[in-house]
Amino acid sequence: MTETLIFSLLIAVAVGFSAGYLGSLMVLKKMALVGDALSHVALPGLALGILFNFNPFFGAFGFLFGSAVIIWYLGRITKLSFETLVGAMFTLALAIGILIVPEPDLLEALFGDITKVALMDTILAVIIAILAMLLTKIIYNKIILGMISEDLAVSNGINVSRTNLLYLLLVSLVVAIGIKIVGTLLVGFLVVTPAAAAKNISSNLSRYAMLSSVFGAISASSGILLSSYLSLPSGPLVVLSGIAIFLFTVLARWRLKIDT
């Protein structure tokens, strides 16, 4: 096993676990497509990183962070749904990104590439993933309460709007680190599908959050291993691994008659 593969696997576990954990909220908030679309917003940032020779992660995160703040703010003042605002933002970002990403780097940006993962990328990804999970754990119950009833949450002293903004920023962080291995086009998958699979077979909230994280980590790491052995792009293989888990949970739910 090469050093690059070990780094990629470490990133995959960190990104998969954290994306699964954060995604468990995204799916319950019925914002699955938001998670997917938000990831595309990173493309112009990646392009700037490639063009001006700085770490594309910072470009991607800058664009994701900026978009999350704009979407949150527009949502507050216009009362339009997240879906509508993200839908408007992401197509624009994708169009700009495709126009300015140099063609040789476009495939890597869109579908991920594990052959260029370095030690610093790995350390950065693991630290960010752990930080994002810890902060999400602090606001997890507040977000759930806000979903049950915003009035109930506010009457218990929770600032729902600020909590949602923090959550969007944490999703942006995790998406930004996931782009390296899965690519901007497919990283949203890691936020959505592990949670959907976990929901199929979870009878309570803590199990749901845990399974979603574990499924995320398994999808990402098995996709990376397959990519290394088959010499194919990592992003699509991560997606296929995750879909296999999802189908397994559908089968388990049907066979075991799990009522969720």
């Binding site: 009833s149 929901k199 309570n204």
Partner: protein
């Protein structure tokens, strides 16, 4: 009549405006500790808005004075649990790690039976009771219920109100509730505040049986000023 200390809530000249529309205008009333006050009125009268203003969840003018450091429990009318795999235990843990069994038994739920059940598979009546258990788990002195029996069958509705009355007596809790049911208001509340943007009636709940009072409550609004 009573001393100022007997009053747990004193509302004076409360007004709420939303998008340049007056929703509540010049609402004033007082409520004694341990009483149940029913808020009544036609749809769109501002009942829920009044609750939100009392909880300081909504910008308003005028004064809402709760007695010092009063602890308030609130059960909103609308909530959504259908898609969230959260159990009763996990839900109650959000608020308090202790007192779960007591809170559940106070609302007539068997903790062994429901603690590990998900909220989204409880019956309408059980779900409302679980929400009330959430509201009372940290022993509040005041409970606000926005139509506590929405989505509940008639038998369960009656038993929920009986349970609320017992809670009021046992723990000397002050209850404010929004209800549309004349029979419930008459039987389970002490006072009634009728709203239709302004206060149209304030008095003892038994008066709701009087057809002329019902006409005042649900007819064209004629504002009154509550003295006591």
């Amino acid at each position: 009549m009573g001393s100022q200390d007997d009053y747990i809530l004193n509302v004076s000249n409360l007004s709420v405006e939303l998008q340049s529309q007056t929703i509540l205008e010049d609402i004033s009333f007082k409520l004694k500790r341990g009483m149940t006050l029913a808020i009544v009125g036609p749809n769109g009268a501002g009942k829920t808005v009044l609750f939100k203003a009392l909880l300081n969840l909504m910008p308003h003018t005028g004064k809402v004075d709760w007695s010092n450091r009063v602890k308030i429990g609130y059960v909103p009318q609308h909530f959504s649990v259908s898609d969230i795999p959260i159990t009763v235990k996990e839900f109650l843990l959000f608020k308090s790690a202790s007192g779960m069994e007591n809170a559940l038994s106070s609302v007539g739920l068997d903790s062994e039976e429901v603690l590990n059940k998900r909220l989204n598979i409880l019956s309408g009546g059980q779900l409302r009771r679980a929400l009330i258990a959430w509201a009372i788990i940290d022993s509040p002195e005041v409970l606000l219920f926005d139509e506590p029996t929405t989505g509940v069958d008639l038998d369960s509705e009656e038993s929920i109100y009986r349970m609320l009355k017992e809670l009021e007596k046992k723990n000397n809790i002050t209850i404010l509730l929004i209800s549309h049911s004349t029979h419930i208001i008459e039987q389970y509340s002490d006072y009634m505040l009728a709203l239709n943007r302004c206060v149209t009636f304030f008095g003892e709940s038994k008066e709701i049986a009087d057809p002329s009072i019902q006409k005042i409550i649900y007819g064209e609004p004629v504002c009154v000023h509550v003295k006591e």
